[in-house]
């Protein structure tokens, strides 16, 4: 029922857009099938498959961890813990019904957030350091820095829609999710007025909602 209501109405209005993204993304199913086969083998305790998965995805997943924690050493710890978790829980992958990179990405973000919180609990000067770095991550006129290699179909859709946001909106929306930050935490870390952050997030989400509706 819910699927019909929320997904069924959306696909029809923008066929040209659906075409575009299907056309742009011819390799995704192949890549997904390869990654899924590897995860299945890992579930059977195949260490060579873990290495193969690492070789294919570690760059991408490390980039994600780095974006969450902001420091090479911490990102490497998070990546290490993530792959140990992948090794132990590969058998649960199929039940998640997720595209493989989505499943892997959730694990890595979660481990990276754990690591970030542990370090923040350790000492405040480190978070101050992170704030400095955060403030520099908003150059304002950077082009869309998103990267779609290995991305699932759904991530392609989000990528298209994020591309329509202003750079700062996109950045604030991304950081809110990736670092699990509230409006006021974002305002503090980015040194922006709270009202500005709220407005950017609200507008960003509004635009995403109308755009994502085309992809369902």
């Amino acid at each position: 029922m819910a699927r019909l209501v929320w997904w069924g109405t959306a696909r029809a209005p923008a066929p040209e857009q659906a075409d575009t993204f299907a056309h742009n993304n011819p390799m995704s199913e192949d890549a997904d099938a390869r990654l899924m086969a590897l995860i299945d083998r890992i579930a059977l305790r195949d260490e060579a498959a873990l290495k193969a998965l690492y070789d294919l995805t570690s760059g991408k997943l490390y980039g994600l961890a780095l974006r969450v924690v902001g420091k090479n050493e911490w990102a490497e710890d998070a990546l290490q813990e993530s792959f140990l978790q992948i090794w132990r829980s590969a058998g649960d992958y199929r039940a998640s019904l997720s595209p493989p990179m989505a499943w892997l990405g959730l694990i890595v973000r979660s481990r990276a957030l754990d690591s970030l919180r542990r370090r923040q609990a350790d000492g405040t000067h480190q978070t101050h350091e992170l704030d400095e770095q955060m403030a520099e991550t908003l150059p304002g006129d950077a082009p869309n820095p998103m990267d779609v290699s290995l991305a699932s179909q759904q991530a392609w859709a989000l990528h298209q829609c994020l591309g329509k946001l202003e750079n700062q909106q996109r950045e604030v929306v991304s950081l809110a999710y990736l670092r699990d930050l509230s409006h006021s935490e974002l305002a503090t870390q980015l040194r922006l007025p709270l009202g500005t952050v709220k407005t950017w997030i609200r507008r960003g989400l509004d635009q995403l909602r109308s755009c994502m509706a085309h992809f369902a």
Partner: protein, 268 residues
């Protein structure tokens, strides 16, 4: 649930745009506090609210897939590989214990006896060489892996220990060949004692004080003579830092204990 909650749910279900807005803010994580809890309550009660939340969680999570790739240091894979091996060995050991009759988990002595039983029964074909692969330093991991492979190829080696320092970094690999009465020590860490000091190897038997097994020279690869009774059923080895030439066995270590590790009988 109170009537108020139901009324809110009804309002929300009649207003798909508002539901969508709340669901997207919920998924992004910017819906906080009481508003977040109320939304979660509604989602548990109303499938359409739950569906909207799940759809947006999945959409927003795509951000994870869109971050620019970067190159992790090569050491990261080595560490993962070490952890995975340790994980496997722990499982193998647990399986061996489970498969053995009447295990009495009272320390190393009994474990050793148990493992011998498991070997005799042919339950294990693995060389259980390293208990603590966790925390190995990067480049050491591969070095130890290579040594393990070598060891596996030498059937006369029956006892193995990896001695770690306080940071759980492997510093010394010890093997014992009972046939030839020879202890072989391989330095795998960067530690080098000062010229006026010596490292001394001790057996720590389950009862009685530490027993000296010998004093180490400065080389990376060292050999000491030892008889099997000196080594058999010793659960732990330790290395202390002593004055040059070491101290008498009866007195026990006088300097700091730098490295310790469990001595394990190798499974054939």
């Amino acid at each position: 649930m109170p009537a108020g909650g139901g009324a809110t749910a009804m309002n929300l279900l009649k207003n798909p745009e508002r539901l969508d807005r709340l669901a997207s803010a919920y998924a992004l994580g910017t819906l906080r506090g009481g508003a977040r809890r109320r939304f979660e309550t509604l989602a548990r009660e109303q499938a359409p609210v739950r569906a909207a939340a799940l759809i947006w969680q999945s959409r927003v999570a795509s951000l994870n897939e869109l971050q620019r790739a970067d190159e992790p240091a090569p050491a990261v894979w080595t560490r993962i590989d070490n952890l995975v091996r340790a994980d496997r060995e722990q499982q193998t050991m647990a399986a061996a214990r489970a498969a053995s009759p009447a295990p009495k988990p009272t320390g190393w002595l009994r474990s050793l006896a148990l493992w011998r039983g498991a070997t005799a029964a042919g339950a294990l074909a693995t060389v259980l060489a390293v208990v603590t692969a966790v925390g190995l330093r990067d480049q050491l991991g591969s070095e130890i892996g290579a040594l393990q492979a070598q060891l596996a190829a030498q059937p006369q080696i029956e006892y193995v220990a990896v001695l770690n320092d306080a940071q759980a970094s492997a510093s010394m690999l010890v093997t014992f060949d009972p046939k030839n009465g020879r202890l072989t020590l391989q330095r795998v860490g960067g530690f080098q004692e000062a010229a006026d000091k010596s490292l001394q190897l001790w057996a720590l038997p389950p009862s009685g004080g530490p027993r000296s097994l010998g004093v180490l020279g400065q080389d990376r690869l060292l050999q000491l003579a030892a008889d099997e009774p000196d080594v058999r059923e010793v659960p732990t080895l330790a290395i202390s830092l002593e004055p040059k030439g070491g101290v008498p066995s009866e007195r026990g270590p006088t300097g700091p204990v730098l490295f310790t590790g469990a001595l394990i009988q190798k499974m054939i």
